[in-house]
Every structure is written in C-alpha cells, then in structure tokens.
C-alpha cells in the first residue's frame, strides 16, 4: 500500500530543499528518471504517447483493487525524471485522490519554474493524461 500523497509530497519537498544549484537539481531529477522501471515494449507505441511534449512520453496505467498504477518512459532524460516524480506521487493511489489532488508539490519543489513554457505545457499534458486515466478508472 502506498503512502498518502501528502506524505510523498513532503518527502519530495525535503529532498529538493537540499539543492541550491540548478544543475544539481537537474542531476537529481535525471537520476530519478534513471531509476524508473522500464516500460514494457507494447506500451512504447503511439497510442500511449502524451501529446504536448517536445520530447516523447509514453504513459500506461492499470488498476489493481481500488488503486491505480502508472508506468512511463521518455526519450528525454530530463522529462523521464519529471515523470518519475509524478509516478512516485500518483502511482498506487486511489483514482479519486488523483482527480482531486491540487498538485501543490509541483509549486513546492518549483518544478514549473525551471521549465520553459514548452516543457511546462508538457508537464500539464502529462498530469492531464494521468487524471484522465484516473477518471476513466474511477
């Protein structure tokens, strides 16, 4: 069973507080991406592509009991790290928790402020897709 979203958010915020240097923060994000479990090849297809990203993102979700699980991959190391963060927050949660989550952690770890508008759009698209999955499974 996953920890509650709020707890994961606090952990993330603490981890990100450790960095003042942007490059270090990026390095950390990229490392999170490297640790993301690989996505099965059948999901590396256009049907699972998230639109609105400059880099490619594939996202797959499935339900187990009353929990939704996400798996994802990207051809960009940075984007993959950002998805890894989203997966860490959302995977294993109840669909309703995801749908109603105000996503405060994104501002708390200042994820958006380092992203150009293009990437920020990509982030919005990824979150949107996760919420769409959650709605479908709710």
């Amino acid at each position: 069973m996953s920890k509650p979203i709020s707890e994961i958010e606090n952990e993330l915020a603490e981890e990100f507080d450790l960095f003042d240097d942007q490059m270090d923060k990026y390095e950390y994000i990229i490392d999170l991406g490297k640790k993301l479990p690989p996505l099965a090849p059948q999901y590396l297809q256009d049907d699972f592509l998230v639109k609105g990203c400059q880099s490619k993102v594939w996202l797959h979700a499935y339900i187990e009991g009353d929990r939704i699980f996400f798996e994802a991959d990207s051809n960009s190391s940075i984007t993959k790290g950002i998805i890894a963060i989203l997966v860490r927050v959302f995977s294993g949660q109840k669909p309703s928790e995801i749908i109603n989550n105000p996503l405060a952690f994104i501002d708390r770890i200042q994820l958006r402020s380092h992203l150009s508008s293009q990437r920020s759009n990509g982030l919005t698209a990824m979150i949107q897709r996760m919420k769409t999955y959650a709605t479908a499974f709710a």
Partner: protein, 414 residues
C-alpha cells in the same frame, strides 16, 4: 592558444562590437549570457534600436501619402532604407520589395509568378537541405497546378550532389528554389553554378538567402538570380521586415499579390490599375520602422566590413569545430567543405533537447530540434541536432564555455 586566436588576423575588435549590443550584457541563470542561436534570429545593435526609437519619437507618420513634414521625413527614411538594401545586394531600387520576411518572399513568388506561369506537368526543383518555408509554398503550388516537386539529393556531409541536380533539370523545369546557406547545417551552396545550369534549362531561380546576408557579401546581379528573399531579423534588423528581390522584367509580368492601398494607381468600382514597381507588391501601410531598421542594420555591418566579418566567423567556425570534436562521442552534423558559422552536432545518443536544457541552465543559448528542416533530418536519419550558430559578436572564449558546458551536461546525462 586562445589568446593567440583572440588577436585574430581579421582585426575585428569584438570587445568593441559587443558594446554595441546591449542585450549581450546580462546574466541568464546567474551566468553571463552566451548567445549562440543567431541562425534563428540575430541580436540588434544600438544603432538599429536607436533608428526605431528615433522614428517613433521624432517622425512617426504614414508614408507616401501625407503632404506634411513628418510624412516627408518618414517617406524619405523608408525609401533611403530601400536604397541601402538595393546597393547592398546590387539591385535597382524598383526591384527591392519590402515584405515580412523570407517566408513571405517565397510565398509571394509562388502565389504570383507561380500561379501565372506554372501549369500541369511542370517541374519545380528544391533541395534536401530546405527549410520548411522553401518547401511548403512550392508544394501548395504543385498541388494546385498538378506540377511536380523534385528534390536535389545531398551527401552525408550535407552537400548538394551537383550531377544529380543536372540530371533533374529538363525542359519541364520551370523554377529552381534553393538556399544560399543551409540554416541547419551551414552548407554554402554553389548558387552561381546552380543558377547558370537552371538558366540553361530555361528555368528561373529563387535563392533563399535568409542565412547568407548576416555572414557574407552578396550580389544578385553577379549571381544573375531571378528572385531572392531574406529576413531582416536575421541580419541584425527588426522582426517583421524582409526583402523580395526580383528581376524587373519578371516582377513586371507578375500579377499583384495582395490588393489594397499603396499598390494601386487608380481605383474605380469597375477597374483598378496597379501602381508601378516596387509599390505594386506593397499593399497597405508597411512595417515602416522595420524597413528603417533594416537600412540601419545593413549600414552597421557594412561599416564593420563583411569581408572582415566572414573571415572572423570562419576562424570561429574552425576553432569551434576543433574544440567540439575533442568531446567524447561528439559528432558534427554537416561537414560541407564550404560552410558558414553553424555548428550542428550530436553527442552519443543524448537527446538534443536535454543538452539544450542543461546548457540553458549555464546561460548558453543554442537551438535544439529539427530546425524547421524535417525532411533534411529524415534524410540524415536523425530526429534533430543541437545547433550553435555564430555571429561576429561571438568570441573564442564563448566557444570554450560552450565546450565546458557540454562536458558538464554530458556528465549529468550519462
């Protein structure tokens, strides 16, 4: 080594030149900005910024119509800019049409000359190096007319294969449209030879000179090209202004592009007669400050001297190429023998976008992606590149910083 390079043979005082560009003196992500995205757009020297400022603070007025003092001043400044452009490219003033940019220049020719003279079965030749702007307008024309678009192939180094070009030419060829310099790779094409061969086959030639004007002397008469387009913003002037040059005889045969004010001689509800060149293609109130800024920009680079600029940029290119190749797994994309100051590259299997983001964090602006050249990227079997495109205000030290920045990014990404 670097210090030696700095006292460059070209005698270009880059320190002094950089003082002319206020935007270069700022921090980005707490690091001094290193602007290496000049092929996308160039920065503007103070004289250009002041020319625009003076226009609005001293003599803003519509042109060619007022009898009053400000209208005279504005008209004179705008027409002086046209004169400057004409001299710069060695054309007659009436052959110099103000447009919005390269894209509009190409569209204008496709929509007027093309619509009038292209018929079913005719052939239009472009190259594999093309920017989308020099593909789509011709494609639209071909679709409308049932004409055929042919593509000159390139080598893996990014050079046009001239013999293949010659094979494509035949009596059905009506238009050849190629870039002077490739924006994605920096290849300088043998445009003079391309034009001569096209003329022999009875075709006319459009030269997309967007990337040529900032880097070298140009002469449309010497090249004997028929049409020629470029964008002001790439040659240190404002955005939204550009030039279509056309031979007078061709422009005379062409129907107008847009209808409206300025381009008319006489209007009744029954019939309109059109104004003479160059006003025939300049419907509506133009980008007056843009035109003025273009004149100022060309004067600025001419004062420095384009020969010096070309020579200095060539030194930058050679230095940058050598330094970049010291990076493990770095591959330069585009290795034409005759090349302008563009460094397109890939490092291992790192996505250009990731490298671009991490360079930006270090204050270094490059462009990543397909550079509006998707067919070219397909031909090269890649999705995109990292591109550092240089101008005469860039320095050897900035290239050192680029190399350092890439190395740092690569350690993080690996």
């Amino acid at each position: 080594m670097i210090a030696e390079k700095k006292i460059s043979k070209t005698l270009l005082d880059v320190e002094q030149i950089r003082n002319d560009f206020p935007i270069l003196h700022q921090l980005v992500n707490k690091k001094p900005l290193i602007y290496l995205d000049n092929a996308a757009t160039s920065q503007k020297p103070l004289t250009v910024i002041n020319a625009i400022n003076n226009y609005y603070t001293q003599y803003n007025s519509n042109i060619h119509r007022g009898a009053h003092h400000l209208a005279h001043l504005a008209t004179e400044a705008y027409e002086n800019a046209r004169k400057t452009v004409a001299q710069h490219i060695n054309a007659a003033e009436k052959e110099v049409n103000f447009v919005r940019g390269t894209t509009e220049a190409i569209n204008l020719v496709a929509a007027t000359y093309g619509r009038k003279f292209i018929t079913k079965g005719d052939e239009i030749i472009i190259s594999a190096l093309e920017h989308h702007s020099n593909i789509v307008p011709w494609q639209m024309l071909c679709e409308e007319k049932g004409a055929l678009l042919k593509v000159i192939p390139i080598t893996d180094d990014g050079e046009i294969i001239f013999e293949e070009y010659l094979k494509l030419l035949n009596e059905k060829t009506k238009i050849v449209s190629v870039p002077y310099i490739s924006n994605a790779l920096g290849t300088i094409n043998p445009v003079k030879e391309i034009i001569a061969a096209a003329h022999k086959a009875g075709a006319i030639v459009f030269i997309d000179a967007a990337q040529a004007l900032p880097h070298q002397k140009v002469d449309v008469k010497e090249l004997d090209c028929d049409f020629w387009g470029f964008s002001g913003h790439k040659v240190f002037a404002a955005t939204g202004i550009g030039i279509l040059y056309g031979k007078e005889s061709l422009l005379e045969q062409m129907p107008p592009y847009m209808g409206g004010g300025e381009m008319i001689k006489n209007v009744t509800f029954e019939k309109t007669t059109y104004n003479e060149l160059p006003y025939k293609f300049e419907a509506g109130t133009p980008n007056i400050e843009g035109g003025i800024s273009l004149g100022a920009a060309l004067n600025y680079i001419n004062n420095i001297g384009l020969d010096k600029i070309s020579a200095y940029e060539h030194e930058l290119l050679e230095y940058g190429t050598e330094k970049l190749l010291e990076i493990d797994e770095l591959k330069i994309i585009g290795r034409a023998k005759n090349k302008s100051s563009v460094l397109s590259f890939l490092v291992g299997d790192i996505l250009p976008y990731d490298l671009g983001v991490l360079l930006n964090e270090q204050g270094i602006a490059i462009r990543t992606g397909h550079h509006c050249c998707q067919p070219l990227m397909n031909r090269l079997g890649i999705e995109g590149t990292c591109r550092a495109s240089l101008a005469f205000y860039n320095t050897f030290e900035e290239l050192d910083e680029l190399v350092k920045g890439i190395k740092k990014a690569v350690t993080i990404l690996k």
